[in-house]
Symmetry: D2
Subunit: 237 residues, 4 copies
């Protein structure tokens, strides 16, 4: 499978604390545990954000991490990604990617939520234990410190709700949710604030690996849309 | 309730056959059976397509009919309508409105389908018989002649599927489907090609009346989103 | 509306601590805030558990609280209740009623869950803020002390997920969920362990009041099932 | 994979017309195209209906065809099958199996529908074109003659709606629907009246083959249910 990992890649460059956690960037940390696939990475400040048509055409699953520069993603490139998703490319949106242009345009809502940075314990409870994305997990994943995201999360009713998070400070969040849009499968997965070593956690890695398998590009033939002939000539009857 | 009926209003002006069916426009035909509400109408060729903020602010349900000039609806006005829907205004999208900018931007998909103009009989079967939108109906609604719309209909999985249509020529279609987006409720209802007297049908009128009641503006308080304090001071523990 | 509140009514009789909280039984405590309706109550140890056909025929919504004597509910009476639900009677299942025969037979699953009695704080977060059952609520309901129920909750995917609970000890739970079965609407609502004064909480009362409105008996005509004639004589074609 | 095909096997014995279509029984016709798996068959009139615990324990997917003798399936055996489904065994229910005890007990509804035997053309339209069950299909499957099943179909809202049928005589039907119950996956697939050669159709075979792959036994660990300890000792706080 061809995986393309896109990272905004600003925090790691501008903030020493973040760089200590992800010295080569979040994209490289994610790439390191997906090596059974052919993995490429792309970042915001590359030409065309590193997202050429050639690149996207061969991508089976695009993984997206962005946070503070969503607005700098060009509208035309967002439109292009959206077309690829609707044509069958899988999309995994991580953490603060909930506010990315691509996710919001596929959801049709504000994707708003509550948040707090307070080094809180998070427990991601599995609520769909037979879903392929939860394969190999126990009842929950525990992260010692993470940013909190809380309900209400303004998304359409998910096709499937897979994880619900508990946070030390008193909130809950639908942390793993899936959506079909066109021929593409979308998995939103909450954890992964830039200042915590979340993507080194083996269970989080397992979920992303499972997610990649689940979301893989769909090669179903495109339906014939538009003006069609009848089953039999109605006028003959 | 304040209902605003928006109509493209081009077919009726440009095509004599259509004008015979809807001499004052489809919007006026729909307005005539919603008179228990305060009803206003707006059309594409009015200034700002007849859709001022003042107008939308007081609208409980917006009904939308458009067909051949979707592209002429200005993007900023479409964005404005979307904001109002997400803030609680109900939206009923009729027939060829499936391809309108507002519907596509709320769905996130192409909203593509099959179609055929062949004067076919249509039967709309009720598959959710206890839904408020089907109140007062029998097992199905029959329309002697309509344009055919056929699956696959490229929309997200609906929150609720209420009607499934049968067409004489051999196709089926999810003809009545609902979606929640933000605080707004959306009802897509298939029938109503401009050349047929569909909106004079008493059962079709009943569905639209029921739909207006179901979709009425939601006045739920907007959730507090953004940065929040914890339930109790975590640092004290 | 005619509301029938069914209570096992054993804890309150056998346990002094519980009797202090609900001196006249949980059923009477619930009845006291539904007085705008015509309310009757029934308990396990009455003849036929207080559930005659006459009684059920006129009931718009049945509220069910049971805990330690689920097995003593007679199978035939459970079957009768189920028929009434499928014919349109609303059903609100409270707390430990998740293990009642009636709920399990409508769900088709074990309805298993985790639990703990440890005087924990519970926060019920609203995840469907425009649902009629949440009308009048803020972002969450807080209960100072409750029994914990935790995921995984072995139910079918709910039609709607309205509340998700956070518990002090580290768990989450889908606390408010709805299901349609036949013509009946079912609302499962988690809180209400017998040793806590939960049903005196004004917001919990509000949810149950809203639930009663939402679940009210459906008078939609029963569909004609069975052997039917074709739309037109096929053989003539 | 171990597949167990259960057939009532009465029509084929009692009715010469049916026997001409399926000389060795519907179960043998289905077995013949699943030969890449280890396939066993069982029928109503065998001891314990051919369904021992030993048999079910090793079964990955159970396929069920029954029609006129649903009542003769013993309740205890139905309960046993249900337990196996909830523990992860896949279940494919065919055609008139909608009225089987096992399907009704997993659904919790009457599973009622309309029907007509009139040699009608059926078209099964794919409405979820990227679902694994539709892999390899075109836009629809056409059957020249089948029994008609029509809406309303009294089932819970399906987790996924995959096929919708069109019938010559004027009806529609949700012909392919899926449900999760416990750890088991259930696929209901409509076609297959005993008097038509439906199970020799290559596309119908393809759907059943795909369905078997999709429904295969889930080996996810069973969640720990019941009384649990807290995340941390609450009393220490």
């Amino acid at each position: 499978m061809n995986i393309l990992i896109w990272n905004e890649y600003r925090h790691e460059i501008e903030n020493e604390e973040v760089r200590k956690v992800y010295p080569e960037g979040i994209h490289k940390a994610i790439a390191s545990f997906l090596e059974e696939h052919h993995v490429e990475t792309a970042t915001l400040d590359e030409a065309h954000h590193g997202l050429s048509d050639e690149n996207l055409n061969k991508t089976d699953v695009l993984i997206w991490w962005g946070h503070k520069a969503h607005d700098e993603v060009q509208d035309e490139i967002c439109e292009k990604i959206k077309s690829h998703v609707l044509e069958g490319m899988g999309l995994i949106v991580l953490h603060s990617g909930h506010f990315s242009k691509i996710f919001k345009s596929l959801m049709g809502t504000t994707c708003n939520l509550k948040w707090r940075e307070a080094d809180e314990k998070e427990r991601l409870w599995v609520v769909d234990p037979t879903h392929p994305i939860t394969e190999g997990l126990n009842s929950y994943i525990e992260l010692d410190k993470e940013e909190m995201y809380g309900e209400h999360f303004d998304i359409p009713t998910p096709d499937e709700t897979i994880f619900i998070s508990w946070f030390e400070g008193g909130e809950v969040f639908r942390s793993g949710v899936t959506f079909k849009r066109g021929k593409g499968k979308i998995f939103y997965f909450r954890p992964g604030h830039e200042s915590y070593p979340t993507y080194y956690n083996k269970e989080i890695q397992r979920v992303i690996k499972n997610g990649v398998q689940w979301a893989k590009r769909n090669h179903a033939p495109t339906h014939d849309y538009g003006n069609v002939k009848p089953l039999e000539d109605i006028s003959e009857k």
